[in-house]
């Protein structure tokens, strides 16, 4: 729900409650006042008639609004006001009336006086009043809504702008966020907080990135020392099987650590956009070359490889392309079931790698995240596909994975503007 909607809703509720209370209160007080007024009038009429009888005991010539009846028995005086319904002559409808019955003793005789007055004008008056109040309220509310809407649009404008700018903000871009000033104190405060916050976040992010790269680089030399010394140790001819076993484990772990470190450096460097040297590359030739490189591996695993390539030129960094394609083909070979076929297809829009194999257990959506492996038992680093993904992102290509009826498919969609790039 929008802020304005929320405020308006509360406001409407409040108005409705106020309207009800006011109307109710008005009804009660006005009815009371009017009734008192009517009662006074009835009493006055009664008193006038009483005076008349007092002076002239005959019952003739009495105001037709009051009926007087002489009682045979002597009774104590009393007044009794009540509401009643009477049938109105022309419409034959029941109408509300105020009715006064009084008994009084005059000159030693008891009389019953009855007089009444219609309450119709009162209820009509009440209705008119309620309508007026209601109309005024409605006008007020509508006015408020329109005004609120207009003011909100103007007042919240800086807020919208800030949101848009924050949306476009990226830690990775060196550009600082710049928010336009506003004449509202709260927004100025927000602006200040946002600006200092993003600047801080950006610098933290950058120093973290720098730290990662530096740490990885610093690790390379100690790793080189360990590797050199281990290589020397391996040359000792008199190693017994147990020592050899330890040595092998160390060599394997070291190799893993070295490659892990190098891949992390590479990932960070791609993230930092530290590659230059864009070149137009004809992909089909490039892929054919790579496929020839691994032809023997394909044969060793008793696989077949089928390529269906059309000419396609992309403008990329060759080193990165090499790593991406190498990893994609390597991935196919690694996961293909022995004796099956790998297919690579290239057209002007997309590049597809497909191999047959059992489904993977882990979540395919996680494949492109670092350290996620389809098969946890394998000695794979789990960085191959995240590296590929990072490179595709860098080239602004889209990569997706699909598993369908026994086939793993990795498909790259090229940048739309490169679809029809013609080989020169």
């Amino acid at each position: 729900m929008k802020l304005l909607q929320k405020v308006n809703r509360n406001y409407l509720w409040y108005t409705a409650v106020v309207f009800l209370i006011v109307s109710f209160g008005l009804c009660i007080t006005l009815t009371k006042i009017v009734r008192n007024e009517v009662d006074e009038k009835l009493f006055l009429q009664f008193q006038m008639v009483r005076e008349q009888i007092n002076i002239n005991p005959g019952l003739s010539g009495i105001d037709h609004l009051v009926t007087v009846e002489k009682l045979t028995l002597l009774r104590s005086p009393s007044f009794n006001f009540k509401d009643t319904f009477l049938v109105e002559k022309p419409e034959q409808e029941l109408e509300k009336y105020r009715y006064l019955t009084a008994i009084d003793t005059l000159n030693g005789n008891s009389y019953r006086f009855e007089t009444w007055a219609s309450l119709i004008p009162t209820s009509e008056f009440l209705w008119a009043l309620l309508l007026t109040v209601g109309f005024a309220m409605l006008l007020l509310v509508l006015g408020m809504l329109v005004l609120n809407q207009r003011i909100a649009k103007r007042v919240w404008k800086p807020f919208r702008q800030y949101l848009d700018q924050l949306n476009g903000f990226s830690f990775e871009k060196p550009k600082k966020i710049s928010l336009s000033p506003s004449d509202i104190d709260e927004f100025m405060e927000l602006r200040q907080v946002l600006e200092s916050f993003t600047t801080k976040a950006q610098s933290d992010f950058n120093s973290l990135k720098e730290f990662t790269v530096n740490a990885s680089h610093e690790m390379q030399t100690p790793l080189a020392i360990i590797q050199a010394r281990l290589d020397d140790l391996t040359q000792i001819g008199t190693m017994d099987p147990e020592q050899a076993r330890h040595m092998q484990a160390m060599q394997q772990a070291l190799s893993r650590l070295s490659r892990l470190n190098q891949t992390l450096i590479l990932l960070t460097r791609i993230e930092n956009n530290q590659f230059s040297g864009l070149k137009p590359i004809e992909l089909s030739t490039f892929i054919t070359g790579q496929v020839e490189e691994i032809q023997e591996l394909v044969q060793i695993k008793n696989l077949k490889i089928s390529v269906d390539l059309t000419e396609k030129v992309v403008i990329v960094q060759p080193d990165l392309l090499d790593i991406a394609i190498g990893n994609l083909i390597g991935n196919c070979i690694r996961h293909a079931a022995p004796g099956t076929k790998i297919s690579i297809a290239l057209d002007s829009r997309s590049l597809t790698f497909r191999n047959e194999g059992p489904p993977v257990l882990s979540d395919p959506n996680m494949f492109f995240n670092p350290f996620v492996k389809g098969d946890t038992a394998s000695g794979s680093l789990g960085l191959g596909l995240s590296l590929v993904k990072k490179i595709c992102d860098h080239f602004r290509w889209t990569i997706g994975y699909q598993y369908e009826s026994g086939f793993h498919t990795l498909k790259i969609i090229f940048l739309a503007q490169d679809y029809d790039r013609i080989p020169e």
């Binding site: 680089h217 610093e218 390379q220 030399t221 790793l223 080189a224 020392i225 360990i226 590797q227 050199a228 010394r229 290589d231 020397d232 391996t234 040359q235 190693m239 099987p241 050899a244 076993r245 040595m247 092998q248 060599q251 394997q252 070291l254 190799s255 070295s258 490659r259 190098q262 891949t263 450096i265 590479l266 460097r269 530290q274 590659f275 230059s276 040297g277 023997e296 591996l297 060793i300 080193d319 790593i323 190498g326 990893n327 390597g330 991935n331 690694r334 394998s378 000695g379 794979s380 680093l381 960085l383 191959g384 590296l387």
Partner: protein, 225 residues
């Protein structure tokens, strides 16, 4: 060959010097930029192994000096930074090759040989060992004068073995030599095994001796003795 190693990390420098000396080269060392400059000025080296990050200067700055005063000296850069990083710099400056730390000593040896071969290419590059002889540029190998039909990678591997004879080569160093740094090598050891099996078979089919020994738990060793 006379080789100068420029590296500021003592433990690595010692290993490198020891290893290079053992492989039959004359090896000298420098652990800072100034010392390196001094040595280059005084002596003629066939090859300089150069660390980029030196405490008193960037190793890359030695390259232009070498290029102008000692154009015959080969340059192999070793750096903690990834090959894709300074490669452009180093190779554009005129270095012959580039090796990213950490590396296997066998790989270093292979690179040294390759640079030497490229720089001293007089006619066909010929290698002879036991009853095997090879022409590296043509990827031709013979056993007892019978041609061996080796694939490119098998040929590479054989050269790697010959350049590092009498050394135990781990499966890791072989895999990295064949497929580089950025390949996921999770099942490459099976491939290494298959390659070696194929090379042995091909050599033996031509009546050659099996020079490749399996060293239990460690790797393989090429030896003619």
């Amino acid at each position: 060959m006379k080789i100068l190693v420029v590296e500021d990390e003592r433990p690595l420098l010692e290993s490198l010097v020891e290893f290079i000396s053992k492989t039959g080269h004359i090896c000298e060392q420098a652990d800072n930029f100034k010392m390196a400059l001094l040595k280059i000025d005084l002596y003629q080296y066939d090859l300089i192994i150069l660390d980029v990050g030196l405490p008193d200067g960037n190793g890359l700055n030695l390259i232009p000096i070498l290029k102008s005063t000692r154009p015959d000296t080969g340059i192999l850069i070793i750096s903690a930074r990834t090959s894709l990083d300074d490669k452009v710099n180093g190779l554009e400056f005129g270095a012959d090759d580039y090796l990213t730390k950490p590396f296997h000593l066998a790989e270093l040896n292979a690179r040294i040989r390759a640079i030497y071969r490229r720089r001293n290419a007089t006619g066909r590059s010929f290698l002879e060992i036991g009853d095997i002889h090879l022409y590296q540029d043509e990827y031709q190998a013979y056993v007892q004068d019978q041609p061996l039909s080796l694939t490119r990678k098998e040929f590479d591997l054989l050269i790697f073995f010959i350049n590092n004879q009498n050394r135990v080569l781990t499966k890791e160093s072989i895999a990295e030599h064949l497929w580089g740094d950025h390949m996921d090598l999770s099942d490459s050891f099976d491939f290494v095994y298959t390659y070696i099996k194929n090379i042995r078979k091909k050599i033996q089919e031509q009546g050659g001796k099996d020079y490749i020994k399996t060293i239990y738990g460690l790797g393989y060793k090429f030896s003619v003795e």
